[in-house]
């Protein structure tokens, strides 16, 4: 019953190095690999890779001298960091209170039904990642949806579904 556990091989760094890795190394240097900069560096990892790969955690643990368990604990504590690659396109439905009372649940339900994907998951083809946000702070414009970093105010379910079709090409 250890299906949810990670294997040692997951920790191995891929052979090829690229600009993304260089970016992380620059950041490590800039912060002097101080342990308190862990979250800042994880932000850069998430931005560069779209998620936090296990091998990257292993690398950070070594460079920053932070225990592996602590890094894993931090990554899984904050909802901004993901353990799996995100979809090619992302759709974030704000479920903050103001959006909630104005019907964000319907928007979310319609997207889930239309694209057979649950909030927090990515479609099997990797095209669309669906997420929810607790509040984007655009409460006057609710319900708010963000598709590929574009904020759609006063979202109507049908329009959002159509827009995702258009943008993600699915």
């Amino acid at each position: 019953m250890s299906s949810g556990l990670n294997r040692l091989t997951d920790l191995e760094k891929p052979a090829t190095e690229d600009a993304r890795l260089k970016r992380i190394q620059t950041a490590l240097k800039r912060y002097d690999a101080r342990p308190d900069a862990l979250i800042e560096i994880l932000h850069i990892v998430e931005e560069s890779y779209g998620y936090v790969p296990l091998w990257m955690m292993a690398l950070l643990a070594k460079e920053m001298k932070v225990p592996p368990s602590r890094i894993y604990g931090v990554v899984t504590f904050y909802h901004f960091f993901s353990l799996k690659p995100k979809g090619e396109h992302t759709c974030v439905v704000c479920t903050g209170t103001a959006c909630h009372v104005r019907g964000s649940q319907r928007v979310l339900n319609d997207i889930e039904d239309e694209f057979s994907v649950r909030a927090g998951e990515t479609t099997p083809d990797g095209k669309l990642g669906l997420q929810t946000a607790r509040c984007l702070g655009c409460c006057s414009l609710g319900p708010v949806t963000v598709i590929d970093n574009e904020i759609i105010p006063k979202s109507e379910p049908e329009k959002i579904v159509a827009l995702i079709h258009e943008k993600a090409g699915i």
């Binding site: 019953m1 040692l8 368990s69 894993y72």
Partner: protein
Amino acid sequence: MNASFTITIDNQSVEATPGESLLEVCRKANIPLPVMCDFKGLSPVGACRLCLVEIEGVPKLLPACTTLVAPNQAVHTQSDKLRKYRRMIIELIFSERNHICAICVANNNCELQKMAYELGMDHVRFPYLTPVCEVDASHEKYVMDHNRCILCTRCVRVCSEIEGAMTRDVMGRGFDARIITEFKQPWGDSTGCTSCGKCVQVCPTGALTPNDAAQGRLKKNPELVALLIEKREAKP
């Protein structure tokens, strides 16, 4: 060394030294207080909330394990409200995962079970949440059954504070929080674990056990760890 002073606990005068916690003072004075997460010698975390006490003049309940003594403190450890709340807290713990004693290796040698007797829990009012948790039996000597874990974090603390291996931490949050070994690997794969077994000894439930323990036959020896901590604290 600062001069000691007296405080009252349950209308009884007790001597206290600055810097001591209320729990330490209670222990010295043999005043019983329920605790689950605390372990003498490990840093207190105030997580289980069983040792909450009332202090006169303080509007909120405070955990004895992390609250320091202060001159003229008047503390009450037993009140109807505290008893009611403690009972509810222990029920919440039992409702959270699988604590079916009848088929647990820790049966009759379990701090959690003993605490529930102590607090008079004859049944659990809250629905059992029964999440399906992992059982990690990959270690050559020990088993971790997350179904029995109450997230007291004694294992995390003993590993980092006493053994110094820091193989353990908590991942996730809320109801989904779990104890992990390194990068959430099988315990047996851990490169940092020294297999010292201190975590097993201090675990208050059947979550961490030797893998050869039969139901009800488990013997844990937390006193050994307590003694070890004492020895290490003593100046040579």
